[in-house]
Subunit: 553 residues, 2 copies
């Protein structure tokens, strides 16, 4: 057996954009040919983009996948390519599709390997579309025997196995020389370490090298960080392809010794937590705009910490010339809020406007006076202010083609401390998966080299400024306590008794859990949230609305 | 073998409300005992309510399920009860739960049968939570051998089998005397016939009687119509338990002859299409309010057909004393619209207010004038009017505790012909799964005995009245054509070429499909839609947002 030059292509695809994806894949195949590559490996479902979701149920969409595969196969002369795409299940029984790895060589489809373990939890819905593989076979490239699997197929290795089968256990009977896994493994702040550990565990179990190709890019809520990697048979991470960026790197594999030699400079560093969250959010914003053909963002800048952070992230993602900040003060806005907001906009060189909501709010008050009948000022008037801001921002958005960025954080979204159709407006929720305490942490990261967000924004007590001298702490516990309870309920899914046992006041825990459960209706209408945790609000968390569970007052 | 008296309990449960569900189940068991019932059958997951969704991932929720099962079992003396609840999977491998039918007798759990076929399509997510059953066994009650299955287990019987296994095929080896199936089969306008056919097909295949217990009630978007039924071994529907209402009926089963004798008056009638849609929507509204403890609804009454229909449905569901109509005219509202709206409110005896949006709209215009710079009136100003209405309605809602009913139809939602945070506001979308042509049909049904909705509302050309002399037909094709294209794309999932082949203009088809695909972002923030079709917007239709598929202009 001669050695094999393998290229790992960690690329960004656009769901449903077959022309774009196909051209990108073919261009990389052509470039790899010039470099003498024998095998180039792309990521899971790269042909159609990931996740295709219910487009998989459209015959025309599958037809276009097949046409793309044919076009890519035609480019595969003197090279073998592995690409991910759906396959039609030829058998009547079972789901209509497989989630497959196509092996393309000699201008045609040489082999198709189907995914066995179909993730169907959190944001994953793969049993919705795909039949699991039940027939195990390896793939041969230049006499090298490859155990080829798709993403989840390598993940049934830890203490709480989610599946009753293990594809690599089945494939080992064919004595493969190496493993190849094509993946679309989304980012969360804990995922990088977890993913590395899973890959190391596989290599330590099966004692052959592993070439792991992940997707990079963002698709609405989901961010793919890349971090493709090559592991030696002894469990070392030989190289990674970087995080939050496209990359392609080549490796020489010696089947006799089962060793890997990198042909490019290697790097096995991983970004630290704040850096990775920062990069993920920037990528998430950037791609939300890019993939929809938008360029310009607008947001309401309150002088508070949440909108400050979103503004900085937006400027980094889109450029200061593409971001517009609008201050929308009311009679309850403090001078320091307005001044802080202006200072930040100036720091960033972002154009800003000050548009008072007073006239709009006054008109609403006047219009409703005959019906409100001198009833005391309450949540109705608070929401009217927030919604006046929403209407003004959306009007500017509609008039000039801005996309409104939402600035709600996860703590607020969790307890319903926000106004639907008011500050909950927006095309994209940038920090809706960061608890308030994490917002503070990320602002500190932002200011690590120089003060970008003014100190006074970071130090003043959080307030919605919807009534005189209002503070968040009037209605909510300190964020440190609130966030701890929320994390135990949302991420860990602990029950009230368990949370109390961890040292929290029973009444407070009951109140917080009740707020979370009775505000599902609000979150159902929230903008899509960039996902950076293991349990974000959005498609990965599916709660009933009219339920009555832990919702007694 | 002596004969067996079987009671079918078709009841309404409340997700997560363990006390309520448990008490209701026990009360029915006690009543059945008095009637000499041997076996009482409740529906799928009745103990926790259906669908429990991600509450199933909370340990405390499962603990409460188990406690309820214990309490119900304790009531099962001199009677056997079959109830649906999740079971913890004792094996480490696989998902943590089963979806089970508990057989309770002699004060304890006599047997647990797990669901084999886990629906994971449209609104169903059962692979998300449950491990499929792989061990097949029957249940014995007073020496009668019962093939007990859960919902989908009987559905793998038609031309396009979704699963590779058929539980009843496995169970027939034990020569059961009868089948019992516990279900939570949601309503759609075609489901009643389909469900009957599936049950008939099962009986015709297995030649034993079938006792089928379905859920009734509504859970946010999902409506359960009931329609539980008993079928003879020869394929006749012996009896049904009625649609859209709770019911419990008893039957005598003779195991020697495998025949069934109803012990109550029988009825096998099914409601016609408009009647069933009507009843489904009324139930959907009623339960959305009831299960959240709300009583009062508010809605904007435009003088158009959509809000007229929603008002009538709301009055039927909640009572006229609990519904408030608000007319929100602008400078572009026609006199006939206002007059038509008033006539309808008077017809129904519903209190109404006329609240002009002029002051609010004028304040917005004035506030934005320095920024809009005399740019021509366009979609921005149209949306400002719609959002002024939204803010005023939400203010009344917040002040007085009304729930705002949304009045968008499916055609509008499909093509994005509506204003986010404007007419798309609301806690519940009542007719968001009815195409505009279906709205007309249902209005005709509403007026079948006497004119409730004034003729002029039904006959005038649809208009949003957001600019002078605006008509829907300025921007959209005739609804007859639009709805046909939409149905082929959304329900049938045909591609553009196939739709054109069915006789539609190619450019028009491209335009409509593009509008559907580029408005996913708007629908993501729409209120929950009462589901009456096989493919409603909401949890059963999961489309990417930043995709680029059939979205070229």
């Amino acid at each position: 057996m001669s050695s094999l030059v393998i290229s790992i292509a960690q690329l960004d695809y656009h769901t449903g954009n077959f022309e774009y994806n196909t051209q990108k894949i073919i261009a990389n195949i052509e470039a790899a040919k010039q470099e003498g590559v024998d095998l180039i490996v792309f990521s899971e479902l790269c042909v159609c983009g990931y996740p295709p979701r219910d487009f998989l149920e459209f015959g025309n969409f599958i037809k276009q996948c097949n046409q793309s595969i044919q076009a890519i196969a035609a480019a595969c002369t003197n090279i073998t390519a592995i690409v991910g795409a759906p396959t039609v299940n030829p058998v009547k029984e079972g789901k209509d599709l497989y989630n497959s790895a196509y092996v393309l060589a000699n201008g045609q489809i040489a082999e198709i390997i189907h995914k066995t373990l179909l993730p169907n939890y959190d944001i994953f819905d793969e049993y919705r579309y795909f039949e699991p593989n039940r027939i195990f076979k390896t793939v041969s490239v230049k006499n090298v025997t490859i155990a080829l699997t798709v993403c989840e197929d390598l993940w049934n290795i830890n203490d709480n196995p989610m599946y009753i089968i293990n594809p690599m256990d089945e494939l080992m009977q064919y004595k493969p020389d190496m493993m190849v896994n094509i993946a679309a493994s989304p980012f969360n702040k804990q995922q990088i370490e977890l993913r590395r550990q899973v890959m190391v565990d596989n290599v330590l179990k099966y004692h052959i090298p592993l070439f792991y190709t992940n997707h990079i890019g963002a698709q609405t809520q989901l961010i793919f960080d890349g971090g493709s990697m090559v592991l030696s048979a002894t469990g070392d991470i030989v190289d990674t392809l970087g995080y939050f960026e496209e990359s392609r790197k080549n490796y020489q594999f010696n089947p006799a010794t089962k060793t890997v030699v990198p042909l490019h400079e290697t790097n096995t560093q991983i970004p630290q937590t704040q850096e990775r969250i920062w990069n993920a959010l920037v990528l998430g914003i950037k791609e939300y705009f890019l993939k929809q053909g938008f360029t310009k963002a607008i947001l309401g800048l309150s002088g508070g910490i949440d909108s400050a952070l979103v503004l900085v992230l937006a400027v980094e993602a889109l450029g200061k010339e593409n971001v517009r900040a609008v201050l929308l003060p009311s009679r309850f806005s403090s001078d320091h809020s307005v001044n802080d907001a202006i200072a930040l906009a100036i720091n960033l060189g972002v154009p800003y406007d000050i548009i008072s909501i007073e006239d709009t709010f006054a008109a609403l008050e006047k219009t409703l006076a005959p019906y409100f009948n001198n009833l005391p000022f309450n949540i109705a008037e608070e929401n009217m202010q927030s919604r006046s801001r929403g209407v003004l921002l959306m009007a500017l958005s509609n008039k000039f083609g801005y996309i409104l960025l939402n600035t709600s954080n996860k703590s607020e979204l969790a307890v319903g401390y926000g106004t639907l159709y008011g500050d909950m407006c927006g095309g994209l929720s940038v920090i809706g998966d960061l608890y308030k305490s994490e917002v503070f942490d990320l602002c500190a990261y932002c200011n690590r080299n120089r003060i970008i967000i003014p100190e006074s924004i970071l130090t003043k007590p959080p307030s919605a400024e919807l009534r005189p001298d209002q503070k968040d702490s009037d209605s909510l516990p300190d964020y440190e306590i609130l966030d701890a309870i929320l994390e135990m309920y949302i991420e860990q899914r602990l029950g009230p008794d368990e949370i109390v046992k961890n040292g929290f006041n029973s009444q407070l825990v009951q109140k917080v859990l009740r707020l979370v459960n009775t505000n599902e209706w609000k979150r159902l209408q929230a903008p899509p949230v960039l996902r950076i945790s293991q349990k974000a609000f959005g498609p990965g968390r599916r709660m009933p609305i009219v339920a009555k569970y832990l919702s007694e007052s």
